[in-house]
């Protein structure tokens, strides 16, 4: 009964308690100056994770870049005219001058290596050293562009209306900042051309930056909405502010701790304040009960202490359930997820400590007359809300069978929906359809090979293995095989260079557009190429000992699924055509696939753990497995129904959804805990009353707290529906639905279940 004395202590020494709370808060606040942020979603996987180590190795071997920004230039009249070409030259020059851009490897008309035959002469040079001035020069350029498979779909669309400038970034460069600079450069140009900027770093860094911004905007707005809704509920500004402070203090404590311990604030943890604010709404049950008690006792001190006696247990256990739901995150593999779990657990526990100290202390400062005025309105019999809730619960209580049947029917339909869920993740789709990032991606993917880049790395054990004509033909065959996939827009490898040189050496005779028959010829062609081309041209596709080859695979979508189909196609090809070479996927598309996979399954694992943890806590709270199972039902129904809808709507089960499912459990179960606890208290306190009357009372009185809690919660998350990023809209919609559904389930479905199973429950359980 230690907690108990904390309440009494707080009521007796309110000023001391408030002072101490504020003092501790200020201490935590001093940590805020040390804040470090990490907006890169890539860091969800540590730099030491297998996929990042492997990708780094591939980048090193082939002199590749982790990230590339793509600037698409579109002219509906065709880009091959002196005006547009001059703009491309100018823009390329300006891009080369941006710090953080790996200038030596920018691919664009003025920089890309071209191999041509010209009156018996082999020419290896940048494609466009000077802007063509007349029709003859344009025609020559057009011919070169369209006869080289190295250019089509990479820097020129087959219809000649689109080109792209590929700007690889140096390690550590900020994609969004560079993208902004490129945007400025493009903006300076006037004319018919349209410019689109895309690429993984744009999406990722823009998302990271936006996410932080949104959190800075949405957390305060959500706070204000909550304050307003609370004021409308209780008409008491002082107490509404107290509730608000409760949330704020816990946020300051937990974020202060996080920063103080030296963790950077990652995009994941930036969501913690909004979650804590939502969890803090649970203290509304204290207020709800307090006014009822005050009406009955007319004494502030007694009312406070009795309130805490009545709601203390459910408040403690809902906190425990919430904390447990988040604590499972501590067992996950992904560090930012762990940190996030830790922050919310700490915040939830702080909130409970405050509920038993700071909140009771603040109650003592409210004038008696004011409380009685509000309390007048809180009459179970007279109050409209309470009467409505009684009616709702009455439906379940009086028609238990049909209620349960309807519930089961819904459950079955939802299960069909769940079976239709597809697992996928697409970062570009985290932006709204009309957003710049998404439009750019769509436009470039429409006409060129694709903005998403994966690699297939062939690794042999033998020096010069790649120079074998068989290996070359193998690479070529694999490329043609991959290009059959609808998601693959373009591939290229060292075989393309060899074929090109073979043809050019033979006076551009198309019959020689093949791999030559001898290894020496391949070796000499490549040597010849390396004599004049940029070093990176060859480095990008073979390693220095010619043991390894790298096929570039441009994908037309950022779907994590796309890279999976590529990997499957590679495996199929390897099975059908064995070769002494290992074929391994790599690149940013591969990273995204693994990243998505890891986070997703980590969350599914967390979800299952949370389900078990919550059930255990219910059993512990109710000291009965049977009651725990009953109390579990609204939660289960809510979750199944929501996923059913997701399945039917055809929304992908993506990363934001998987994160949410895990988090929602601990919060959705709260209502059932309050309901069952208070119902059983009522049964114990008034043994003469029959079960249905006790159920109706519970729905009307603590049920009002549940409804208030749900509305408050839903109201604050509804703000997110107006966010510009789709994961926020998803989070908002998910939580609003979950709160409303689980509260309705608790008020209607739980009474029906309890009525039907009362013999079984009460015989074996409470008494």
């Amino acid at each position: 009964m230690k907690k108990f004395s904390l309440v009494e202590f707080s009521v007796d020494h309110p000023k001391l308690v408030v002072f101490l709370t504020i003092f501790v808060t200020v201490l935590f606040m001093t940590q805020f100056t040390k804040i470090k942020t990490d907006t890169n979603p890539k860091n969800m996987l540590p730099a030491t994770s297998d996929v990042r180590v492997w990708n780094d190795e591939v980048d090193k071997t082939f002199g590749l870049y982790e990230d590339t920004i793509v600037l698409g230039v579109v002219n509906d009249k065709g880009i091959l005219n002196p005006g547009t070409l001059e703009k491309i030259r100018r823009i390329t020059d300006d891009i080369l001058a941006i710090k953080g851009v790996a200038a030596r490897d920018v691919s664009s008309f003025p920089t890309i290596t071209n191999v041509t035959a010209d009156a018996g002469t082999l020419r290896v040079a940048p494609l466009m050293t000077q802007t063509p001035k007349n029709e003859a020069e344009i025609t020559a350029l057009r011919k070169q562009l369209f006869e080289s498979p190295l250019f089509i779909n990479r820097i020129i669309s087959p219809d000649g209306k689109t080109t792209a400038i590929y700007a690889p970034l140096e390690k550590g460069a900020n994609g969004k900042e560079i993208a902004d600079k490129i945007r400025e450069i493009a903006k300076r140009e006037k004319g018919d051309e349209k410019y689109y900027i895309a690429g993984d770093p744009v999406a990722r860094d823009t998302f990271g930056a936006e996410m932080f911004k949104l959190m800075a905007i949405f957390a305060p707005i959500a706070g204000c909405v909550m304050l307003l809704v609370r004021y409308l509920m209780f008409r008491d500004l002082f107490l509404s502010v107290t509730l608000m402070m409760d949330a704020m203090i816990s946020i300051v404590w937990s974020m202060g701790l996080l920063i103080g311990l030296g963790f950077p604030v990652h995009i994941m943890t930036s969501m913690a304040p909004v979650f804590l604010m939502a969890i803090a709404t649970d203290s509304i049950h204290i207020f709800n009960e307090f006014y009822f008690r005050y009406r009955e006792k007319k004494d502030k001190r007694t009312a406070i202490i009795e309130t805490m006696q009545a709601v203390g247990r459910p408040v403690r256990y809902t906190a425990l359930a919430t904390a447990a739901g988040f604590a499972v995150l501590l067992f996950m593999n992904i560090i930012p997820v762990k940190v996030f779990g830790g922050v919310v657990v700490f915040g939830t526990l702080s909130l409970r400590l405050l509920s038993f100290s700071f909140i009771p202390a603040m109650f003592t400062f409210v004038k008696d007359e004011k409380i009685s005025r509000i309390a007048e309105a809180e009459d179970v019999g007279l109050n409209g809300t309470s009467r409505f809730l009684r009616k709702l619960a009455g439906f379940g209580t009086h028609h238990p069978k049909s209620t349960v049947l309807v519930g089961f029917a819904l459950l079955l339909i939802a299960l069909i929906g769940i079976s239709r869920i597809t697992v996928n993740n697409n970062m570009v789709e985290w932006f709204k359809k009309g957003s710049e990032v998404r439009v750019a991606d769509r436009e470039i993917n429409k006409s060129l090979g694709g903005t998403s880049l994966g690699y297939v790395v062939g690794i042999s054990k033998e020096d010069d293995f790649v120079k074998n004509p068989e290996t070359m033909r193998y690479l070529e065959g694999l490329q043609r095989h991959l290009e059959k996939l609808p998601v693959v827009g373009k591939t290229f490898s060292v075989a393309d260079y060899v074929k090109r040189i073979n043809r050019v050496l033979h006076d551009d005779d198309p019959r020689y557009d093949v791999i030559p028959d001898s290894k020496d010829a391949v070796g000499q062609y490549l040597f010849l190429f390396s004599m004049s081309a940029k070093p990176s041209d060859l480095d990008n596709v073979v390693d220095s000992s010619f043991k390894k080859a790298n096929i570039w695979v441009q994908l037309k979508t950022w779907d994590a699924k796309a890279m999976e189909t590529v990997i499957r196609a590679v495996d199929d090809y390897k099975k059908a055509h064995p070769i002494a070479m290992e074929l391994k996927p790599a690149g940013i598309a591969y990273f995204n696939m693994i990243w998505n996979h890891e986070v997703l399954w980590d969350m599914v694992k967390g979800f299952i753990l949370a389900l078990i943890a919550v059930l255990l806590i219910l059993a512990l709270d109710f000291r009965s497995i049977k009651w725990a199972v009953i109390g579990y039902m609204p939660l289960l129904f809510t979750i199944v129904l929501i996923y059913g809808v997701i399945g039917f709507v055809g929304k992908d089960f993506d990363m934001p959804i998987s994160v949410l499912s895990c988090l929602s459990l601990g919060m959705a179960v709260d209502f059932a805990i309050h309901f069952v606890s208070r119902f059983r208290q009522r049964m114990a306190a008034t043994p003469d009353e029959d079960v249905s009357e006790a159920l109706l009372w519970t729905a009307a009185r603590p049920g009002k707290g549940i409804m208030r809690n749900a509305i408050l919660f839903a109201a604050s998350f509804a703000v997110m529906l107006f966010a510009p990023l789709t994961p926020y809209i998803t989070v908002g919609a998910f939580i609003v639905t979950m709160m409303l559904l689980s509260s309705l389930m608790t008020i209607i479905y739980l009474p029906a279940l309890i009525t039907l199973t009362q013999r079984w429950l009460i015989k074996g359980g409470t008494k």
Partner: protein, 266 residues
């Protein structure tokens, strides 16, 4: 005679110059090119090139190089190269006719298909056999293509040097923004050259690592070009250096690409 001339020109420029330094920057560069790229009437050496990437992985190029001057320093030159390594390009031969004021003519013999092919490439940007040297770094850049200015005179590793800044007149034709050279006041050998990109950051660094006189000609026996941005570097070592062998003109023709003259295989 040479020192006399230098002394005279120093005295002249001291008297006349507006740069206030010893001699005109353009003269320094001219002399440097003569000493570095044009010594002797002809030249022959075994050249070992190591192309080394950031992680220390190497590609080897080994060749015999012959050079003959046609005219004064700063004028035309012809190069003949015969490759020994890598193994699959053995017997490949390469002929370059270099003209200071336009792109060189080049022919390559590809033994696998027994074909001599003329090759056109941009001297200013193309890499020399895949190394960090461009063709221009190997064979020089016409003095009048840049505006040269003497920045200062200082000591470089104990040697008295001129520090010259060269800024291309036609900036769009080259990849670099400007170049700084540390040129020995006595031998006019460039000890170091720094290439800056158009953003003004250092991109490539040339260093002469070992210099010794051969038959009276100061010769850079070991040199390195490092791309500081990519971490890639090329190390070049000369051996069997011989000057004034009386190499015949007929050696530097398309004919000898296929049928290697004895002078080379020897």
């Amino acid at each position: 005679m040479r020192t006399l001339f230098v002394a005279a020109s120093i005295a002249m420029s001291l008297f006349l110059s507006s740069t206030s330094f010893g001699m005109g920057a353009e003269d320094v560069v001219k002399k440097s090119q003569a000493a570095f790229l044009y010594p002797g009437k002809d030249f022959k050496a075994r050249v070992m090139m190591k192309l080394i990437n950031k992680d220390g992985q190497e590609r080897i190029r080994e060749l015999t190089m012959l050079r003959k001057n046609f005219g004064e320093p700063g004028g035309d030159q012809k190069y003949f190269m015969y490759f020994h390594q890598p193994a699959d390009v053995r017997d490949m031969t390469f002929l370059v006719w270099k003209y200071p004021r336009k792109d060189s003519d080049r022919w390559l013999f590809i033994p696998a298909i027994k074909l001599v092919k003329r090759i056109a490439a941009n001297d200013k940007r193309s890499s020399f056999v895949g190394s960090d040297f461009s063709y221009e770094d190997v064979s020089g850049r016409a003095v009048e293509e840049d505006n040269h200015s003497l920045l200062r005179e200082e000591k470089y590793e104990g040697k008295d040097v001129y520090v010259v800044k060269s800024v291309p007149k036609a900036s769009e034709s080259v990849d670099f923004g400007y170049k700084l050279s540390w040129i020995d006041k006595g031998s006019f050998i460039p000890w170091k050259e720094e290439y800056y990109d158009k953003r003004g950051s250092l991109s490539k660094v040339f260093t002469a690592n070992e210099v010794k006189p051969v038959q009276g000609f100061i010769t850079v026996m070991r040199r390195t070009m490092k791309n500081v941005q990519s971490g890639h570097r090329t190390e070049v070592v000369y051996s069997d250096v011989k000057y004034n062998q009386g190499l015949s003109d007929s050696l530097f023709t398309e004919r000898s690409l296929k049928n290697l003259p004895r002078e080379i295989s020897r």
